[in-house]
């Protein structure tokens, strides 16, 4: 970012917003906007509590399970849909419907089917994340260099080698892009799932704070969740950049 001819670090814009927030909070313009400093103070007060760590560990576990399932199902299914034309046609339509559908609307039905509990949240995370992973994997495998495939066959690659040594690596940039988008959607899934169920994990805390009008704590939690989502997506983005460097001539 360049301002008045000087190079300014990106974080500076964040700082500006924090200051504006602080000013609005101090001015007591709205009861739902406490000063930023009070929110930070609340965050440092919340994090060490047992209630928070219990909620966070439940949420993290649901997130990890849902994401893990989404990766285990999404990547192989995307590969299959790219390599088996009929499967790609049959499932492609469904995947495209579900990727644009508002999954949150399905959560109440999920509650009725799998019960009100952690399973519902895991399934919600899975549904939020899996479709974008499928589609990106499919695109990556489909666009894999045809002459690399011919080359591998020529030099005697068997089926397994073709997948592990050529197709998968060739599609890795697209797969990782799908994983990053899936992770972001997965964080939404865990929060929305728990909010709708409202009795477990971070969702329970959100519900608790907003019902008792604990705005400092509420905003503190929002910031923690935002920071988590941002950090994890940046971590995948870092991997992506490393891979793209090697694949830059495709």
């Amino acid at each position: 970012m360049i301002l008045f001819g000087k190079k300014i670090p990106i974080l500076f814009s964040l700082l500006v917003w924090c200051i504006i927030w602080e000013i609005i909070g101090r001015a007591k313009l709205s009861t739902i906007v406490p000063p930023f400093s009070a929110v930070i103070a609340a965050a440092t007060a919340i994090i060490p509590t047992a209630k928070f760590s219990a909620a966070a560990s439940i949420s993290l576990r649901s997130f990890a399970l849902g994401m893990g399932l989404a990766l285990l199902v999404g990547i192989p299914l995307g590969v299959l849909m790219a390599r088996v034309a009929s499967l790609g046609k049959i499932l492609g339509l469904w995947v495209n419907i579900f990727i644009s559908a508002p999954i949150s609307a399905l959560v109440p039905i999920l509650m009725a089917v799998v019960g009100i509990g952690e399973t519902t949240v895991v399934v919600t995370v899975f549904l939020f994340a899996v479709f974008v992973i499928i589609i990106d994997t499919q695109v990556g495998i489909k666009q894999a260099d045809r002459s690399l495939v011919e080359m591998a066959r020529c030099f005697g690659a068997n089926r397994r080698q073709l997948y592990t040594k050529v197709l998968f690596l060739s599609a890795l940039p697209e797969i990782l892009a799908g994983v990053r988008l899936g992770v972001i959607r997965g964080v939404k899934g865990v929060v929305i799932g728990q909010l709708l169920i409202a009795i477990i994990g971070v969702g329970e805390l959100f519900e608790l704070y907003s019902q008792h009008f604990l705005m400092e704590e509420f905003w503190a939690l929002v910031i923690i969740v935002f920071a988590f989502a941002f950090a994890i997506s940046e971590a995948v983005a870092f991997l992506e950049r490393r891979v793209e460097y090697y694949a830059s001539t495709r």
Binding site: F155, A157, Q161, K165, L169, L172, Y246, S248, T249
Partner: protein
């Protein structure tokens, strides 16, 4: 069919799914230890024919026999050099060159030692750990050639290997290729659309007619290359006559 043919094509034809007939009734014997060129106008199916020999594309009619065995897929006695190089972008030169041996399950230090010898042979000693995107087109094709040499196949199939390489590099590359392959006594099948390249390099030139491709004529340039430098060859009367003879035939197709 010549007695010492290492590759035999028996009434080979290829029709694509859309009904396009690319090749029709090709009968051809390609000689052991010789450099044969498939030459023809674009769209005559010469690359298709090469990929059929490689076992990458199935025939619609007829059979291909290599070293007395019927071809039904790629085999270790045939190696391929690709027009677009087909190098793994995420692997360095050493791993790319050793890739054929990696697929065969050879131990890492063993295959890398073999690969290093061939990297030296094609003049890329200093570039072992470079990645393809750091190399020029000519250097990338040297990697492609080294990879084909590393698997020690008897037959090297080359699909317009110099078409993505600039003219100066191409000439130097052609000269080196001749030296290297003569010395190694490989059988080479070379696809090109350049008459000069074909005459300069080949022992035999198979002229293909336009679609559907058939063998229109086989020409054996009787150029004495022994002890002559490349410029002498290019001024040789036989060389110039053969180029002209082929042009007179191909002229009617374009």
């Amino acid at each position: 069919m010549p007695a010492d043919a290492i590759i035999e094509l028996k009434a080979v034809g290829k029709t694509y799914e859309a009904g396009v007939e690319a090749l029709s009734d090709i009968n051809l014997g390609l000689l052991h230890g010789a450099l044969s060129t498939l030459l023809g106008p674009s769209g005559c199916g010469k690359t298709t024919l090469l990929k059929i020999i490689a076992g990458l594309i199935p025939t619609s009619r007829g059979e291909v026999w290599v070293k007395g065995r019927k071809v039904d897929g790629p085999g270790p006695e045939r190696a391929f050099v690709f027009q677009d190089f087909a190098l793994l972008p995420w692997a360095n030169v050493l791993r790319n060159v050793a890739f054929g041996l990696e697929l065969r399950g050879l131990a890492k230090d063993q295959r890398e030692q073999i690969a290093r010898n061939h990297i030296n042979e094609v003049g890329l000693k200093a570039f072992e750990s470079s990645y393809p995107h750091q190399l020029s087109g000519g250097m990338r094709q040297r990697v492609g050639l080294a990879r084909a040499l590393t698997v020690d196949a008897d037959i090297i199939l080359m699909d317009e290997p110099f078409s993505s390489v600039d003219e100066q590099t191409r000439r130097k590359f052609q000269e080196e290729l001749l030296d290297l392959l003569r010395y190694k006594k490989k059988t080479v099948i070379f696809v090109t659309h350049s008459i000069e390249e074909a005459v300069y390099l080949s022992d035999r030139i198979v002229l293909l007619s336009p679609r559907p491709g058939t063998v229109s004529q086989i020409i054996q340039p009787s150029i004495d290359r022994q002890g002559k430098d490349p410029d002498e060859i290019r001024r040789d009367k036989n060389y110039l006559d053969t180029v002209d003879q082929i042009w007179q035939i191909l002229k009617q197709y374009v």
